[in-house]
């Protein structure tokens, strides 16, 4: 179809016709479409057609589109700004040049939008953007950079993040650095964390979640007792699911660790608490990851006889995690007698089928 006709179609009365014209311009891939589409955006009353225009621009995938999108980052219209961020994100590494240029913008909001776009671009090409952001004077730009580089596991920035973590005072900034260290940190990072927070008691409430995850991710074998301390705190706001997740991670890093009788008692007591079913299930699965004094195996097998579905499934998962051949065999035996199909499959009946 004729480009000029399509461009004229952007201004007709019928919303559907305008939408179709925009879509066809997108499929044309023609650079001539870009400016008319941008001009129409400025005056188009229909939200739907505006969305179609952005989809068309994204389909065109030329440098000129990215220049136009980058220019929209300082628009007063939130819809235009956010759509532009989306297009730049999805066009990937090709967008980096224009994004990097906008990191020089005096407006910190614009610089933050650059980070939002970079968040979805998984390529080392975006690293210069993060480098610039980590030196930024604006705390929101810094927070966005930390969040996104952590999610993308960019470990080359580890030292910079550690430095920020040690010096930051703004709570959200500390959390952002903390969260990033959980993704890219190592033994040295754990030292930094212990330097700032020697004990669980020294951690501000809102950072406790990250502290607990850091325990799982980075703590040494000898620090297992810190989990016990946490459970003993009995603070309802100390999220049990976070502790259980951290314990699991700790197990996977250190292998089957031996736990004391008191710790085992503490863990069993968690089941008495008012925990959501999926958390109880997870807890039972995780206890199967410890070095097994006979108590754990016996306890889990006893739960199989209970009527509570969650406890049964949890016990099955825990027993599987114990990896004891004799217990696994007994699970499979039970599966033939189990009326509940999901439990039967968990017991091993389903798994034996090809």
């Amino acid at each position: 179809m004729n480009i000029e006709t399509l461009i004229a179609g952007l201004a007709v009365e019928d919303e559907t016709d305008r939408s179709n014209a925009a879509e066809d311009l997108g499929y044309s891939g023609s650079a001539k479409s870009i400016l008319p589409l941008m001009e129409r955006l400025a005056v188009e009353p229909s939200r739907k057609v505006r969305e179609t225009i952005f989809a068309a621009l994204e389909r065109i995938d030329l440098p000129e589109v990215r220049i136009q999108m980058a220019a929209l980052l300082d628009s007063d219209d939130a819809f235009l700004r956010n759509q532009a961020v989306g297009v730049l994100q999805r066009q990937g590494a090709e967008s980096v040049l224009v994004l990097l240029a906008r990191m020089n913008d005096a407006d910190p909001d614009v610089r933050k939008f650059v980070l939002d776009a970079a968040a979805g671009i998984s390529s080392t090409a975006v690293d210069p953007i993060f480098e610039a952001a980590l030196r930024d004077a604006d705390v929101n730009v810094l927070i966005a950079a930390l969040e996104h580089l952590g999610e993308q596991r960019k470990s080359r920035f580890k030292c910079a993040v550690e430095e920020i973590f040690l010096k930051a005072t703004e709570p959200m900034l500390v959390c952002a650095a903390f969260a990033a260290l959980l993704q890219i940190g190592d033994v040295a990072s754990w030292h930094c964390i212990r330097q700032r927070y020697p004990t669980a008691a020294s951690v501000p409430d809102w950072e406790l979640g990250w502290w607990i995850r850091a325990l799982g991710e980075l703590a040494t074998l000898g620090e297992l007792a810190m989990f016990q301390e946490l459970l003993q705190l009995h603070d309802k706001n100390v999220a049990r699911d976070t502790i259980i997740d951290a314990l699991e991670r700790f197990q996977v890093r250190h292998g089957r660790v031996q736990i004391s009788d008191q710790f085992w008692t503490l863990l069993r007591e968690q089941l008495e608490e008012n925990l959501a079913p999926e958390i109880k299930l997870q807890l039972l699965r995780v206890v199967g990851g410890f070095a097994e004094p006979p108590a754990i195996g016996k306890f889990l097998v006893a739960l199989l006889a209970q009527n509570d579905r969650t406890l049964k499934l949890g016990a099955i998962e825990g027993i599987k995690r114990l990896e004891r051949p004799d217990l696994l065999a007994s699970l499979r035996e039970r599966s033939h007698l189990e009326p509940d199909s999901e439990i039967a499959e968990a017991l091993g009946q389903g798994e034996e089928k090809p």
Partner: protein
């Protein structure tokens, strides 16, 4: 328990605000963009809404406007919390129907105090 819906595309921010508000005794649910926020707020009633502005899909202004079209949310306090600090942005927030506009990063106690004030509790 007072239920708050936290709408923000940053998982870090959602978690941060969730921790703060849970510690202050609120029950929290979260959404990552305006449409998800609208769906959750439509499916069940929240007593207070905390929303970001800049999100993919539906932004915070649009979310606020549409939520106000729901008669169930006539009186529910909506707080916008955004990185943008310009006067124009704040005006947009109030025009959309927000009761309060906070700028990130906001002090934890300030957020909690604001919510409690808006809810008429202390």
């Amino acid at each position: 328990m007072t239920k708050v819906l936290i709408v923000d595309d940053s998982s870090l921010t959602r978690e941060f605000h969730k921790h703060i508000l849970k510690a202050a005794g609120f029950a929290c649910d979260t959404a990552a963009d305006g449409m998800e926020g609208l769906e959750k707020a439509t499916a069940e009633k929240f007593q207070v809404i905390l929303t970001d502005v800049n999100m993919q899909g539906m932004d915070g202004y649009e979310f606020t406007k549409r939520l106000r079209q729901n008669p169930d949310y006539d009186e529910v306090p909506i707080v916008i919390i955004s990185t943008e600090a310009k006067e124009l942005d704040k005006q947009k927030g109030f025009s959309a129907g927000a009761n309060l506009y906070l700028v990130k990063p906001t002090d934890a106690s300030r957020i909690v105090e604001s919510l409690k004030l808006l809810l008429g509790t202390r």
